[in-house]
Symmetry: D2
Subunit: 118 residues, 4 copies
């Protein structure tokens, strides 16, 4: 079986929504709310962990976190689909912009936001 | 040029972080917070729009929304990378689970959450 | 019984945390994550509703929404407490700032963000 | 001057919205999105801080955080107002529920979620 790719994911989610007649609910406004809810469910797993604990999850938590990452990606892909935006292209474009906002010489070892970088 | 894929994205983000010595900041706890912040910046574009307006963004807003989608995907890919989780696999696994939670015959045209489905 | 006030709430939450020896978990970083999680649980109730539906909740949903509003306020009050910030004073100060950012004559019937107001 | 109270805040926000003819935008669905956005702006200040750093903010950051806490409280109070929910009462009711979900003897020094408490 070939590895999964993003187009395949978009197609699978689209079919899932169509089979359930859910396209009526999938406005961008609703989908971005669903994306926020799923992101918070992912966040919830980490809220009481120390940063160090967050780097070594037990197997049960890791499996639950993987499911939440799946949910976030599903809603992100669905939102991008209904908006006719290519999320991978958007990410690569943003990396180029970030390289300009965070030049290596100024940002090295430094997490200051670009608008406060000197 | 071949189309972008997820592995390529992960590699590009990893290189970006390494070049800036930012791996020290990239704990899962911190990254999931950054993901939440970017998701909310995406949400912000839609907060005062009607659902109908959200389906037909002007070009300027669509370009800004694409950038935020890029940011969300970047942090999601980075979080998955440091956790050693394959986000595409996680999404496909979740679609299978969702198909069980939301059988077509019960969910058709119905946005009720699975734990309240009859 | 006199009506509840904010100081009373802060005191009750502080006592709740102390009795359970939870102060060790209540760093601002952790509390702001918990606040985000509760806010998303509130958001979840509205994700698939139309704006119009969101104005007339059934009794069951309204009761659940009230609980989530309670949770959000609890974590906001607790966060403000550990940071030694007075949230009511902060809100009144912010209203004054907002009055400058959104002058009535420019903002009337207009939800444009202040940095794009003409 | 008497100390501020919640009713006064609700009244001030209501007047602010009315003067700008913003009631048309203030559906619960829109307001809960705005609340989420403000919560994330608060979260953003803490994303790269260690838990320990988050307990000792510099004066500039503390002032910015106070403003964001003000914004979160404004939108929470406004949302509760349009839903005709008393947020302080909701918080006290929730504390009572939480006392049942998290009995002192089981929760002492333990941040386990109630549904996993033994």
């Amino acid at each position: 079986m070939p590895p999964h790719n993003f187009n395949e994911l978009r197609t699978a989610i689209r079919a899932f929504a169509q089979a359930r007649d859910w396209e009526q609910f999938h406005t961008p406004k609703n989908l971005v709310m669903a994306l926020s809810v799923e992101t918070a469910e992912l966040l919830e797993h980490f809220q009481w962990l120390s940063p160090e604990q967050s780097t070594r999850l037990d197997d049960q938590t890791k499996a639950e976190v993987a499911q939440e990452i799946g949910d976030v990606l599903i809603y992100l892909a669905r939102l991008a689909d209904v908006l006719d935006i290519d999320p991978l292209q958007a990410a690569f474009d943003k990396i180029e912009l970030n390289a300009l906002k965070y030049p290596v010489e100024k940002s090295k070892g430094n997490n200051t936001k670009y608008d406060k970088l000197q």
